[in-house]
Chain length 449, copies 2
């Protein structure tokens, strides 16, 4: 069946949704259609919390109400081919969609490592569809020993969450010498490790899984040091690769970072085709090199840029490249990271100066619910520009990392941070005399002087 639309969005994850809704606002008269390839997609970052925190896995569905309400048609289907000449997308079930503007929001796919035994039943990559996840949850809950492969955000959030399931022993293996090693320096990641250990998680660092053991069902793993571990389920959290096949086959340029190449306005090498979210290549904020950050928040920022600019460049893109900006929560402990870490800045060749501070997130510290708060800021040494920051604390740290993120995007200087005006309150923040962002900037300044 041949259908005709004006704006066609391939993919109904956060990027596809936000792009369609933004397009509706800027182009109220255009016909917009979204192709949805997963029957019941889930909110990506909520997936770990379907295992215990949420009352029902159902509560984490990524609903289509906002699309329907915005007069956007949502149609089940998976795009198989783009004919750029006749501006036609064909689906796997041979439906055809004619477009004026096409948005690729095809997302990413979990990396499956190429090791013996990877196909045995009981190995669970983190796919996003509800029915699959429901069956994972059942299997994990029936398990006695679960191994999580990967100590990045997904891995540690799963470890925290499933450690709450009664009767379950949780193991986590990471090939690098520290958890969250790409986003946090060692002084922070050690605290994460301590927290997980306190929850009973067996963390195994510097170690690689070389083989998955078992016949019909996972029975264990073998590590590169020769040790074996008995487990009955495995969760894979070792990253994802952009889904670029559709774009590649259509002859669109790919970036060096493996995603679909896109310009400042998310236009691909074909001006009538845009790419947003995990499938789209990104450029690093600091170096302009291709980068592979995959975050729903980045995806939605890109989707807004694309949605507004489909027919005309209406909104000048104000974020000048992608920063890595993350937060996570482990049993009450909150961590955030934005921009470069000390290690990544050095590796990149920046001459930096680092400021740190430790305090309490309420004042006076005797107030109920006060947590330790620790902040680290990384500045370019000569120009004094903020390059990155890390925060560890209680709930308020989740938005504090966004103050740092705003400051990075605005290229705020060490002096500006030293004389920052901020709201402080006994129950909500450190004391005005001890506000961590200011003290960390001062600490860095003292090292320059």
């Amino acid at each position: 069946m041949r259908n005709k639309t004006e704006i066609l969005v391939v993919g109904a994850g956060p990027a596809g949704m936000v792009c369609a809704i933004t397009a509706r606002r800027y182009y109220p008269d255009k016909k917009i259609l979204v192709l949805k390839n997963i029957a019941n997609g889930c909110i990506p970052c909520g997936i770990p919390y379907m295992f215990s925190s949420l009352q029902s896995p159902q509560d984490n569905i990524l609903g289509m109400d906002a699309l329907i309400k915005n007069n956007i048609e949502v149609v089940p289907g998976e795009a198989a081919k783009i004919d750029r000449g006749s501006k036609l997308v064909t689906t796997t079930s041979s439906d055809e969609y004619q477009y004026e503007k096409l948005v690729l929001a095809t997302g990413s796919t979990p990396v499956i490592p190429n090791i013996p035994g990877i196909d045995i039943k009981g190995v669970y990559p983190v796919y996003k569809d509800l029915d699959y996840l429901k069956s994972c949850i059942e299997e994990i809950k029936r398990s006695k020993n679960v191994l999580i492969i990967g100590g990045g955000f997904i891995g540690i959030e799963f470890a925290d969450e499933i450690s709450k399931i009664p009767g379950l022993t949780v193991h986590l293996v990471e090939v690098l010498p520290a958890l969250l090693a790409n986003s946090f320096d060692r002084d922070f990641s050690l605290l994460v490790e301590g927290k997980l250990k306190a929850e009973g998680v067996n963390t195994i660092l510097n170690t690689k899984v070389t083989e998955i053991l078992g016949k019909e069902k996972v029975e264990g793993v073998r590590f590169d040091n020769g040790n074996e571990l008995k487990v009955d389920s495995i969760i894979l959290g070792i990253g994802a690769v952009p889904n670029t096949e559709l774009a590649k086959t259509a002859g669109l340029d790919l970036g060096k970072g493996r995603g679909i190449w896109a310009d400042e306005y998310m236009r691909t090498s074909d001006f009538d085709i845009f790419a947003v979210g995990d499938c789209a290549g990104k450029r690093d904020f600091y170096t302009r090199r291709d980068t592979a950050v995959m975050l729903a928040s980045t995806a939605t920022a890109e989707a807004r840029v694309a949605g507004a600019n489909l027919y005309q460049l209406k909104i000048i893109r104000e974020n000048k490249g992608t920063i890595a900006i993350y937060s996570t929560y482990i049993d009450g402990l909150v961590l955030g990271s934005a921009g470069l870490t000390e290690a990544s800045a050095k590796k990149e060749g920046f001459e930096i100066i680092v400021g740190t501070t430790e305090g309490v997130d309420k004042h006076p510290k005797g107030l109920p619910g006060a947590n330790k708060i620790k902040v680290k800021l990384i500045f370019a040494r000569q120009s004094g520009i903020l390059m990155g920051g890390q925060v560890l604390g209680g709930m308020s740290a989740g938005e504090m990392i966004n103050i740092i993120g705003m400051a990075i995007q605005q290229r705020v200087s060490i002096n500006e941070l030293e004389t920052l005006q901020m709201a402080t309150h006994p129950y909500l923040t450190s004391a005005p005399t001890m506000y961590p962002l200011v003290l960390a900037a001062q600490d860095a300044m003292a090292k320059i002087a």
Copy 2:
């Protein structure tokens, strides 16, 4: 007795302390002395929480450890006179201190309204010294009916806090038609009123106290509408005036906003005398007119500027005027305001556009502990520059207002907010598709387009 110092700081509140400590960092060899006129000063913003939340009032003392540790001498005494010619400060007990650089951090004094009966026992202005506050706490706890005069931050925080004392009925009277009327628009202040009412606080708006009744002890009040109310204690929370007497007598210029006039680097009309904190005049961020914001956070920002620049202008002041930036907490409800409100922007003559959004501060919304979050942003209509913002939510709103504060100080545009990169996490923030600062900016943008 005549003493000789190099840097003399008059006042040991947050401004004096931070100025002295900053001076120590930039001038490591100078002799620094702080004159302290209150034996046991308290952390200003913690004062309401001494009445119930803190285990002991003692826990809210503003300790001098940080000064001692920084090799700063702290001496009891109240400055009575400055002889600028011979650079000599004389105290009320006739001690003399010779200085090279003098910092006035003399603070402010609560406003005492001139109404009949104001001197009767049982009327408590909010002074900052521990012994006085201890006796207040005892009296309030012995009371059955307490009236708070003033519906600003101090008033509502006291109302929230003392409503937790068993057996106490709390009344609050405000002359304006809304609570927190200078910092929040009506849609926000109505929610504060509802929250206080739910705690059993009797809020009386649009009403003025004309007389305090009683002979030896407060027995009640009369209002301007003729009504009377029986109460046995009264807390005064109607603002404060800068302590400028010392500066005035010494012939220093005063600003139009009643504080001591100070330039961009907090230098008074005498270059060897600086003024910081509540006693110092401030200039408004938007209009450059004199303003009277009195905040510990503003005070410490000024103190850092002064402390670094006492002998040489070492740090260029990066905050270009004072913004009002506040947060408060009422029984789990958090409110923040930064910059201009819709009402104050209009009154000031700005052509504005307002964006609002309401959502949930976790995602999916079924996660335990999720709160409603409401954000309002005020932009200059033509230039699209952010002028102010208000937030209402759970604990995370306390730092979210500081993202807005950072954005105001950086003169961030509506476009920059629309394409902001931020960290989102199920337990810590709204969904990336629904991040309130982005959605409020979009809402404003839609109204422009």
